[in-house]
Symmetry: C2
Subunit: 296 residues, 2 copies
């Protein structure tokens, strides 16, 4: 292991990893090292480019904290998140498709009862969301945990507004006995991914725009079913065809229906301002049998 | 760009990067994305493995600060640093070889005159280091900037000892008119790369040890010459054949000669304790002509 050059280094690292007792980890590390080295050789990575790469990752680390995940943003914008989501969520037709998780999920968001206003003061036109959670056979799933999060009318998430002292436009609900859920919120707007950090600089240098089409995040979990992480996208809005994180699926595009001022609300009284309604029915996939889940 | 799957995502990202106006950056990004995706497809990366990877990089970021560079450590231990060093420092026989930079260089270390003690209080057996800096034709290079850094007898660098209020066993010197340099220090010991962080956990999980053979870091720069970043390794010590960062080159192994107590020092007086001497002559490579340096 002396006098290693740019060609013999790959075998030297794989040899050093021969003692790895976790076969799956060994597969991952061996493949990662091989592809990383192939990349560096293919482009003949220079020392100053290597230093720029180290500096870039250091900056990504500096921008990451409990409210912002710049590494997820990097994975999203490089298409890795969509790749991993796609190859792990192949489900039969009819089940709700998954898409990327994104960098803005927050643990410990408030819980709400069905019908409550999860906007919690966030600005935007009112939107009444309702839908159902059902299973393989179309039977309702009660007590499913539904986590929702979204941007406000300016395209910002609450965690991007340092002046806020509370979480807005996000929350947790449970589906009712008949699988239904409903809440009030605001209409999400197209939003740029946070582009004041290293990932934003990368997009700009690569000639890419940072915009995402308007969407509402859902994470729905229920015992015995595969967790569903997805968005509902707003039909006819901009960027549906050039999402900065490659997450749009046509089955997830829905109509945010607009109602003029004066239209009747659910309780029959006329609304003094325009509002929107959105309905989406989710179909969860029953968790695969253990024998299959255990294959690596 | 809708309904992208794990196979079409690569083309979608490359298409998004078509607007990149910097051709070299486009080459780097296109190759990086392709190899990253190939890796994720080859191992069929799962969502929990993806999350573990994000968490790992987040930890690497958390461990990186002005005194510790965990991303460089990651690059070193994955063999990327040696690969990049090797493919960028191919020099004719006889010129001093380069090796990895490592994570422990500190800007603004103290300056010393030749002959001074750069240990600055670090513990270890005394070692008198001397050598020369010469050029392509063997002519001395005067006024070369020589930066030195090393571990103490316990294998720790000063920046790994939070109780220290000053920099130890590192410094800057200039070569004399005849190309000579000389200083007093201590004998470096084999040292584990810092293994209390995520990279240490990775090595352990991969069945690898964290040790490096004893070495002394040099960075030597002089106008008109290629910068030289290298180590001098201590002959006959452990780990020369299993360096955790793959950096050993046989031309960089030198004899740290031991002298018993009572042996005469350079000034003729007998030393009351044993000491070591090390001599190494460096040969710098004249910077390549611009025409070559400009090719990407």
């Amino acid at each position: 292991m002396v006098n290693i050059d740019e060609w013999t280094i790959t075998k030297a690292v794989l040899d050093a990893q021969r003692g790895c007792t976790d076969p799956r980890l060994k597969t991952l590390l061996d493949s990662l090292v091989t592809h990383l080295h192939d990349f560096a050789r293919e482009v003949r990575l220079s020392e100053s480019e290597w230093r720029a790469g180290i500096q870039f990752l250091t900056e990504v680390g500096r921008f990451t904290d409990s409210k912002r995940q710049e590494f997820i943003l990097l994975s999203d914008t490089l298409g890795l998140s969509t790749l991993v989501t796609a190859q792990n969520n192949c489900k039969p037709e009819g089940f709700t498709e998954s898409t990327v998780f994104g960098p803005f999920f927050v643990k410990d968001a408030p819980w709400y009862d069905n019908g409550e206003d999860i906007a919690n003061g966030a600005h935007g036109e009112p939107c009444f969301v309702n839908g159902t959670v059902k299973d393989n056979e179309g039977e309702p799933i009660s007590d499913a945990h539904i986590a929702v999060w979204q941007s406000d009318k300016d395209g910002f998430y609450d965690v991007q507004r340092p002046e806020l002292s509370r979480l807005q436009a996000r929350g947790n609900l449970r589906s009712l006995v008949d699988g239904r859920f409903y809440f009030k919120s605001i209409v999400a707007a197209p939003n740029p991914i946070p582009n004041d950090g290293p990932v934003g600089r990368m997009l700009s240098a690569a000639g890419r725009h940072p915009w995402r089409p308007a969407h509402l995040h859902f994470m729905i979990t229920a015992p015995g079913y595969e967790p569903l992480i997805t968005h509902i996208f707003r039909d006819k809005g901009p960027y549906l065809d050039s999402d900065a994180v490659f997450g749009v699926r046509s089955s997830l595009i829905a109509d945010w229906e607009r109602h003029d001022a004066g239209s009747a609300l659910a309780n029959g009284t006329p609304s003094s301002i325009p509002y929107y309604t959105l309905r989406y029915d989710f179909k969860l996939f029953r968790a695969r049998p253990l024998a299959r889940a255990q294959t690596p």
